[in-house]
């Protein structure tokens, strides 16, 4: 994600090629699943909500990302479980 945030003021200047590639990767993931960044955010929130109904999860350690490998899109969720729900 460092590339994605590097355009922010005060960050180290990255060349525009890297910025272009990062932006492209992000927009293509959204295009391919036909969801906006906001909808993807909502999907993640709902996913977390459903899982936390069953188990206690570590909300700070959650990593849910949409990625592409080749021409396939993939949703990867890494959600640390603290223990059983009481």
């Amino acid at each position: 994600m460092s590339g994605f945030f590097s355009w922010l003021p005060g960050q180290k200047k990255t060349n525009s090629r890297d910025v272009a590639k990062d932006r492209l990767q992000l927009v293509l993931v959204q295009d391919r699943v036909n969801l906006s960044a906001q909808q993807i955010g909502e999907m993640k929130d709902e996913l977390i909500e459903v899982i936390s109904r069953y188990v206690e999860i570590d909300r700070d350690g959650i990593d849910i990302t949409l990625t592409r490998s080749g021409r396939q899109s993939r949703l990867t969720a890494d959600i640390p479980i603290l223990g059983a729900r009481h």
């Binding site: 090629r17 890297d18 295009d31």
Partner: protein, 264 residues
């Protein structure tokens, strides 16, 4: 003989579809192949001017489909090469004058007499694109190393894959070596990495294209044109030859070109 139908498309406009179609068609014909180039961009015809044939048009693609003329009457013989023909688009009509079925029928009528039929697709993903893609055995997707062009190419690749019957290859056009070197342009590797389809050509940004378009004489006919060489390489790869990619990112490109020249 049974022709291979190759559709040249891109999604985004202005990335060089027509230039690519004219140059690859001309290069194939210069290799001794029998070639027809069809301009499927109804209402925005341009392949005729890029090939320098705009003054010879009597009939067009829509005339053939509607039966106003015979197929042969709409085929314009190229100025430079004996086995190259152009079927121009209609200028005063729109894309609804054609259907995908028309394009399949038309190309089927020509398959026996030619080695290659190239179709210059209009920009976009609407009817005109669907017409152009319908008869394709292969698809060449043209993009430039820019976010907007690559994004549109990705969309087109998705649509073609959904049809499930085409093999598509990528042409990265207008690569600026100086910008790639200083980190201000997506490299060919970046574009291939993102789109994940096979690469068939890398064409440098080259002023000889502008000059050759001004003159109506495709750059592949000029010996000194780097872009012309890149299009000749694409044509050779289409015929099944293995041609190494032009060295466009490294500092030793001049030496590599020299050594290629002397077949070292």
């Amino acid at each position: 003989m049974s022709a291979v139908v190759i559709t040249v498309t891109s999604g985004k406009g202005g990335v060089g579809k027509t230039t690519a179609t004219a140059n690859i068609s001309t290069a194939l014909a210069a290799m001794g192949k029998k070639v027809v180039a069809i301009d499927a961009d109804i209402g925005l015809r341009n392949l005729d001017v890029v090939m320098g044939l705009e003054n010879r048009i009597v009939y067009n693609l829509v005339d053939v489909v509607e039966g106003t003329c015979r197929l042969r009457q709409a085929m314009i013989k190229d100025k430079y090469l004996p086995e190259l023909y152009l079927i121009p688009a209609a200028q005063s009509r729109d894309k609804t004058a054609l259907t995908p079925g028309d394009m399949i029928e038309l190309t089927n009528q020509m398959r026996e007499d030619f080695d290659y039929i190239l179709i210059d697709s209009p920009a976009g993903i609407e009817q005109g694109f669907k017409n152009a893609i319908a008869p394709a055995d292969r698809v060449l997707i043209v993009t430039t190393p820019e976010v907007s062009a690559v994004r549109d190419a990705d969309r087109i690749i998705g649509l073609i894959e959904a049809e499930g019957k085409y093999s598509s290859d990528l042409v990265v056009n207008r690569v600026r070596v100086d910008l790639v070197r200083r980190g201000d342009m997506l490299s060919t590797e970046d574009v291939v990495d993102v789109l994940a389809i096979s690469l068939i050509g890398v064409v440098p940004d080259d002023e000889s294209i502008i000059i050759s378009t001004n003159q109506g004489r495709p750059a592949v006919l000029q010996n000194g044109s780097l872009a012309g060489q890149a299009f000749r390489d694409i044509a050779a790869r289409l015929t099944g030859q293995t041609v190494p990619f032009m060295e466009l990112d490294g500092h030793d490109s001049f030496m590599k070109r020299l050594s290629k020249l002397f077949k070292l």
